[in-house]
């Protein structure tokens, strides 16, 4: 896929985005973030704010985040830890009087922040999310053991062993009941047409980047 000539500075996507949208953060969200065009529909009723299972751990509720987007608080929103607290429970979505797809917007904002390099470092859910995707797309199916090991060892070997040790009862239990297969580490479940899966995902990424780059 040939790069379009309008934007060459792909090295720093954040600088590119800043140059393009200047102070119009709402427009940036509308064009770049999944389901972004819905943000302006929020009527600030606050129903979503009381719906999150990890509510006390959200510095900014979805309602506040939508308000901050409209107020142009770009840095505060994109560097926020809040969106990463979303458990995809869809509690807010079924209650919102304006029917905003809040879950997707939270995931979309988090993903966008991650791609711009602004997401908080060492955010555990970000790490897990990336590993999950990597794990599922490498073979087309999720390998639960590799996934679990990856999460434990992300902070290095010693921390990983400590964590694994803390969780040994869980792992041993799963092993004994036949629900965790150690041989997954050496291959395990996968799609036969891994090549096709990889090719279609690569193509999808290219198409999406092309669309997001097109003048809005």
């Amino acid at each position: 896929m040939g790069a379009t000539s309008t934007e060459t500075n792909m090295a720093d996507p954040n600088a590119t985005a800043l140059a393009r949208y200047r102070n119009d953060f709402l427009k940036e969200v509308e064009e770049r973030v999944e389901e972004g065009p819905w943000v302006k529909m929020c009527m600030q009723c606050g129903v979503c704010a009381g719906s999150c299972p990890f509510g006390p751990h959200w510095e900014h509720s979805p309602q506040k985040i939508f308000m901050m987007i409209r107020a142009g608080k770009r840095d505060e929103v994109l560097r926020s830890d809040s969106m990463w607290m979303c458990t995809s429970c869809y509690n807010c979505v079924v209650r919102c009087p304006r029917q905003l797809p809040i879950t997707q917007i939270m995931h979309g904002l988090a993903t966008y922040a991650h791609r711009l390099g602004l997401a908080p470092k060492l955010q555990p859910t970000r790490d897990f999310s990336l590993q999950f995707w990597d794990n599922c797309t490498r073979t087309g199916r999720v390998n639960e053991l590799k996934l679990t090991m990856g999460v434990y060892f992300k902070d290095g070997l010693a921390a990983g062993i400590r964590k694994g040790w803390e969780m040994r009862r869980v792992a041993l239990g799963l092993l004994k009941s036949g629900r965790l297969n150690p041989f997954e580490l050496f291959g395990g479940h996968r799609c036969k047409d891994q090549k096709g899966v990889a090719a279609m995902l690569k193509k999808a990424r290219e198409i999406e980047e092309q669309r997001k780059r097109a003048p809005g």
């Binding site: 999310s129 969780m167 869980v170 965790l180 997954e184 198409i207």
Partner: protein, 300 residues
């Protein structure tokens, strides 16, 4: 020919030796009794789950789900796709709705699918196994094969999030869905209808990345089951099952509780009520033994 046939999407957690393999075992036994033929979609792939978002783009997620639909349409024409996992069902259904709402997205998806030699036609529907039971059979039909009613066993019906929101089961409310309790009663068990953590989130995939925050949720879910005098929890979701069962020992250790509340699947209840063995019901796959069900299964 079987009474009903479906294109089956088992999902990653139901694979052999994976965390919900006993769910699959019991679904197979239940379907055998009901004369349902489940043919796995050849070479199905992961749905991307809700948690894969940071690595995935929007289109990539839809393409993954469209691939499964395309394979089902090509190999099992005319059959509905049936998922047993809440997340698989939700993600497939969400993708389908998006693709049907946007000609551009549909065209882009098919352009990407071409790389795998496939095409999404949008013919097959995706349904949860619970929908199949309730809509294609109905409680009366599901009751007929019961030979061993689960008399005297008290169940806290834990529906959780993703089988309930945002789509849910037709005709049910989001705040108090009744189908799980009705299924329990259909097979002769006692449904604890006052159980108040029915639709609480277990933390989902964040049980891995935010263990303490999730364990607080799980503690509420288990505690409320004890408050109602439950013998066990029953759920339709593999992630709920795993989280609520597996982390009880951690919670005990960290917080000094003495939790040992079994967590089972609706399909295990049905298998036992239909006269299946403990093995057929996947009752050998638990960390906390569902003793009352095991005893019933062992009884002649």
């Amino acid at each position: 020919m079987a009474r009903k046939e479906y294109a089956f999407y088992p999902g990653c957690s139901s694979q052999l030796k994976a965390s919900a393999s006993n769910y699959l075992t019991s679904v197979n036994a239940m379907c055998k009794t009901l004369d349902v033929k489940l043919t796995p979609i050849p070479d199905w792939n992961c749905c991307g789950a809700s948690i894969g978002y940071a690595g995935a783009g929007e289109l990539q997620r839809h393409v993954l789900n469209a691939r499964n639909f395309a394979l089902a349409e090509a190999h099992l024409p005319g059959q509905d796709v049936v998922a047993t996992c809440a997340a698989c069902w939700l993600n497939a259904r969400e993708s389908k709705e998006k693709l049907h709402g946007s000609a551009q997205l549909l065209a882009d998806t098919n352009e990407a699918l071409k790389e795998a030699g496939l095409r999404y036609e949008g013919k097959a529907d995706v349904r949860h196994m619970v929908e199949v039971l309730i809509e294609d059979f109905g409680y009366d039909e599901l009751k007929k094969p019961v030979v061993k009613p689960l008399e005297g066993v008290k169940f806290a019906g834990y529906v959780g999030c993703q089988t309930n929101r945002p789509f849910g089961i037709a005709g049910e409310s989001f705040e108090n869905p009744l189908y799980l309790d009705k299924l329990v009663e259909t097979v002769g068990g006692e449904a604890l209808t006052k159980y108040d953590q029915k639709v609480t989130c277990c933390g989902g995939a964040l049980a891995f990345s935010e263990p303490e925050k999730s364990q607080k949720q799980i503690r509420d879910i288990v505690e409320a089951a004890y408050d109602q005098g439950a013998d066990m929890i029953v759920t339709p979701c593999p992630l709920c099952q795993a989280n609520v069962e597996v982390y009880q020992s951690e919670i005990n250790q960290r917080q000094g509780t003495k939790f040992a509340m079994p967590v089972t699947y609706y399909s295990q209840l049905m298998t036992v009520a239909y006269g299946g063995t403990a093995r057929e019901a996947g009752l050998d796959g638990h960390l906390i033994q569902p003793v009352k069900l095991q005893e019933l299964a062992a009884k002649k």
